[in-house]
Symmetry: C2
Subunit: 236 residues, 2 copies
C-alpha cells in the first residue's frame, strides 16, 4: 500500500460551518436596510442554487467562472425570490464576500496543525483561490499550497479537479487522502484511486438530516480532524 | 491610478540564482559517478533547452506538461550531448529535483518579508506548483498563495498565465505589479495593463551579458527586492 504523502480537504461544510456564518451576515447586512430576513432560510436558499449553477459549467454549457461570480449572481436571484427586490451593487458585493469570512468548525485548526507535522496539506475546494486564501487567513490555517477548482478550470466532482490538485501537491492519487463531509467528493476521489476520509458534520444539511452514506466504504471515518490526526498517528 | 493590491514574481533568475545552484548540484551528483563535468556549462545547456520545449506547448503542438517533466526530458538530451551517455532513472530524478532546491539571491527573503506587510504576494512562475512550493520552503518564503503556469495550463509569456494569476490573487491587472528580471515577462504583463518592476540581476545570462532592456519602460527599476520595498513604502 502506497505511503500517504498529502491530504486534500473539501472546505464548505467540511472545514467551515457555512450556514451559521452566512445566516449571521445576512441578518447583519440586511437588517440595517430594513429587511427582516430569516437568515438561515436565506442561507439555505443561496446554497441550494450552488450545484445547479456549477452543473451548467461542468456540463460545458457555460464557460468556467470563479465561485464568487456564481455566488453573486445566485444571490441576486435568491434576494428577488425572497421578496427583497433588486439589491444594490454594494450590498451584493458585501454579502458575496461573506463567503470569505466563514468560521471553521471548532476541531479544524488544531487538527490541521497536527496533520501538517507529517503531511503536505491543501484545500481542494470549489471556492476560488482568493476566497479560500481569505478563509485561511480568517481561520489561521497554514497550507502547503492552495488548490481546487480554479487551478483545473472546472468544478468538483469532475475528475480533473482532484487529479490536478494531487499532481500540484506532488502526490500520486494513491498517496493522497481526500477529506470531506460529502459522499459526492469521496466517491469521485475514491474512483480515481485516492484514499478517502469521511468527517461527519451532522448539521451540514440542517438539523436531523445527516449525509447519506449507506453502503459506502471509506478508508477512515471520523467525527473531527483531531480524530483523523489521532488515526494517522500525528501526535498532540 | 489604481492602488496596488498584489505583486506577482517571476522566480527563476529573479528570485533564485539557478546557475550557481544547478552547477553545484551537477558536480555533486555526477562526480561520484565518475563524470568530470563543467557544472556551469552543463547548467547553461540545460537551461537553454527550456524555452524551445515550452514553445512546443505554447504553440499548441504539444499538450501541457509540468516543468519537472520538461526538465527531466531535456536533462536526458543534454547529458547525451555532453558525452555522458544515458543517465539512469535515479540520477535523472535526483538532478531534476535540483530545481526544487535553488538558493535565493541574498536580498529576496528580507524584501518579501517587508513587501508582504502591505501587499498580497504570489509567485507567477513557469515552475510547477510543487517545485515552487519546495523552493519556498527551502528559502523560507511566505506567500498569500502559489500561482503560475500550472494554474493556467500554459506557459508564460502567454497572457492567460498572468491574467489567471492576478485573478486568483483577487486583483485586477492594474492593481498588480509583475516583478521580474526578464524583459519578456514585463513586456507581456505590461501589455495586459499590469504595472511592471524590473529587478536587475546582472549575472542572469552569465557574466557580462546583462538583460537587454533598451527603450523599454518600467514603472519601477531596482537592483534588489529590498530597494523595491523601499520604493513602495514598505519600511524596514
Amino acid at each position: 500500500m502506497a505511503a500517504i504523502q498529502g491530504l486534500l480537504f473539501d472546505v464548505f461544510g467540511t472545514l467551515v460551518d457555512w450556514r451559521r456564518s452566512i445566516s449571521r451576515e445576512v441578518r447583519e447586512i440586511l437588517s440595517p436596510l430594513g429587511f427582516s430576513t430569516n437568515g438561515e432560510a436565506f442561507a439555505d436558499a443561496w446554497r441550494a442554487a450552488y450545484q445547479p449553477a456549477l452543473e451548467e459549467i461542468r456540463s460545458g454549457r457555460e464557460p468556467f467562472r470563479p465561485l464568487d461570480e456564481i455566488h453573486r449572481r445566485n444571490l441576486a436571484n435568491v434576494a428577488r425570490d425572497a421578496g427583497l427586490g433588486s439589491l444594490d451593487d454594494r450590498t451584493l458585493g458585501a454579502l458575496t464576500l461573506a463567503w470569505h469570512r466563514l468560521d471553521a468548525w471548532p476541531d479544524v485548526h488544531q487538527g490541521l496543525e497536527r496533520l501538517r507535522t507529517r503531511y503536505r496539506l491543501a484545500p481542494c475546494s470549489n471556492g476560488n483561490l482568493s476566497l479560500v486564501s481569505d478563509l485561511s487567513r480568517h481561520n489561521d490555517w497554514k497550507w502547503t499550497m492552495i488548490l481546487g477548482a480554479e487551478i483545473a478550470g472546472d468544478y468538483k466532482p469532475k475528475p480533473h479537479v482532484y487529479l490536478a490538485s494531487a499532481a500540484a501537491l506532488g502526490c500520486r492519487p494513491e498517496e493522497t487522502i481526500m477529506v470531506a463531509a460529502h459522499s459526492l467528493d469521496l466517491r469521485a476521489a475514491g474512483a480515481l484511486g485516492m484514499r478517502t476520509a469521511f468527517v461527519a458534520r451532522p448539521r451540514e444539511h440542517g438539523t436531523g438530516k445527516p449525509e447519506k452514506i449507506d453502503g459506502m466504504h471509506f478508508d477512515w471515518a471520523v467525527d473531527s480532524l483531531t480524530e483523523l490526526a489521532d488515526r494517522l498517528g500525528c501526535g498532540e
